[in-house]
């Protein structure tokens, strides 16, 4: 039976994605490095502050890995949570693993911790870029129930590649935030089909923001992560300028589109309205060579 990545806990995901029994946790729950802020707010803390960090192996290669637990405060980044992530990334500069895997699931900054959370996310961003600059790929896996939004949405796009399932969502402001600030006419966050085709993995892949769409299965994420170990990112200034130019053209090409389906049609995909119904393999076949 396939194991759903979406339904699994952060610990189950790590165990399934990495080589069996290879994961060694750093600052495990028994270390009790918990949030100093939540207790002051009379809110229960988690022994791992909602993130598991450590080292293990992927296809025999040494990797560092972190997994955010969406079940605890939506995977939101507090001071300790962020510090564990920064510490892991900085460790990569010393131990030089083959890659760093980030199994993200987060609504962004933990608002309970306000500025401490915001600073933590900015430190994570700087650390990701330092690791990439040292030639170590940072690979994001996004397929959890809470998706990846806010500051963690930015972090994900700073990494070398994003492996995503349709259920995995990626964005800056989440659907509820857009509806609250701009009104239900702008975005109905309870319209699941609208939410998935706008912030879901298929659209993110077609826009070129995610590198690969996979089925909602831990084995599929593992296989894609192993493929991503072979990536050799081009970090030259020319490549960066090409990326910026492509992003600038994106608004020119698709600025008049009112729905993701209009963009898929503009990309030359026939009968784009069927895309949400396709399995990952069929989707990848039909959309090959037609990504923005």
């Amino acid at each position: 039976m396939t194991q759903s990545y979406y339904e699994a806990s952060a610990r189950e995901r790590l165990a399934a994605v990495l080589d069996p029994s290879s994961f060694q946790e750093i600052l495990p729950p028994s270390a009790r490095v918990t949030s100093p802020h939540l207790r002051q707010l009379d809110t229960p803390a988690a022994f791992d502050d909602g993130i598991i960090v450590g080292e293990g192996r992927l296809d025999g290669q040494p990797v560092l890995a972190a997994a955010q637990e969406g079940g605890f405060m939506g995977g939101a980044v507090g001071e300790v949570h962020g510090a564990k992530l920064v510490g892991l990334l900085e460790r990569a500069l010393d131990t030089r693993p083959t890659a760093v895997l980030l199994l993200v699931e987060s609504g962004g900054v933990r608002l309970h911790e306000a500025n401490a959370g915001l600073i933590a996310v900015s430190e994570v961003m700087r650390a990701v870029l330092a690791v990439r600059g040292a030639g170590i790929p940072v690979i994001v896996l996004d397929g959890g129930q809470f998706g990846c939004f806010g500051g963690m949405g930015i972090v994900a796009r700073l990494c070398d590649t994003v492996i995503i399932s349709e259920e995995g969502r990626l964005g800056l402001s989440g659907p509820e935030v857009i509806e609250t600030t701009c009104g239900v006419e702008e975005f109905d966050s309870r319209d699941r089909a609208l939410v998935w085709r706008t912030v879901g993995g298929k659209h993110r892949t077609l826009l070129g923001e995610a590198g690969e769409l996979v089925a909602d299965a831990t084995a599929a994420f593992r296989a894609a992560a192993i493929r991503a170990l072979a990536l050799t990112p081009d970090l030259s200034l020319e490549a960066l300028e090409r990326e910026h130019a492509a992003l600038g053209q994106r608004i020119e090409r698709f600025g008049d589109c009112h729905d993701a389906v209009d963009i898929w049609r503009a990309l030359g995909i026939e009968a784009p309205e069927r895309l949400p119904l396709l399995e990952a393999a069929d989707f990848n076949t039909i959309t090959a060579g037609k990504r923005a």
């Binding site: 729950p29 028994s30 009379d42 809110t43 229960p44 988690a46 022994f47 079940g71 605890f72």
Partner: protein
């Protein structure tokens, strides 16, 4: 929030598969349970931090039932709870102890 402490005596020494084990997540209607081996002069010490205030008697009943099924000595059980129901608490206790002793979680 409320912090509740319980201590049980008369348990049997155990031979855990790992020094500590965790079950559950700190989310609404759920809880996390950390089970650790620790020299406690034969006691089983339980500390519950819970968001739901005023349910001490129910915690006592659930933990009495647990200890009757798993009389452990020299074990510390630490719980962070966000209003889990007694059935969920019992399930997570069994999951944590199974992982701790080497069964399946």
């Amino acid at each position: 929030m409320e912090t509740l402490k319980f201590e049980y005596r008369g348990g049997r020494p155990c031979n855990p598969a790992q020094a500590s084990a965790l079950a559950g997540v700190v989310g609404s209607g759920n809880l996390e349970i950390l089970v650790e081996q620790e020299p406690l002069n034969g006691a089983c010490a339980v500390e519950v931090v819970t968001a739901a205030v005023g349910f001490g008697a129910i915690w006592q009943a659930v933990l009495d039932d647990f200890f009757a099924r798993h009389p452990l000595a020299d074990v510390r059980i630490s719980i962070n709870d966000v209003g889990a129901t007694p059935a969920v608490v019992s399930l997570r206790l069994d999951q944590a102890v199974n992982a701790f002793l080497g069964g399946t979680a």
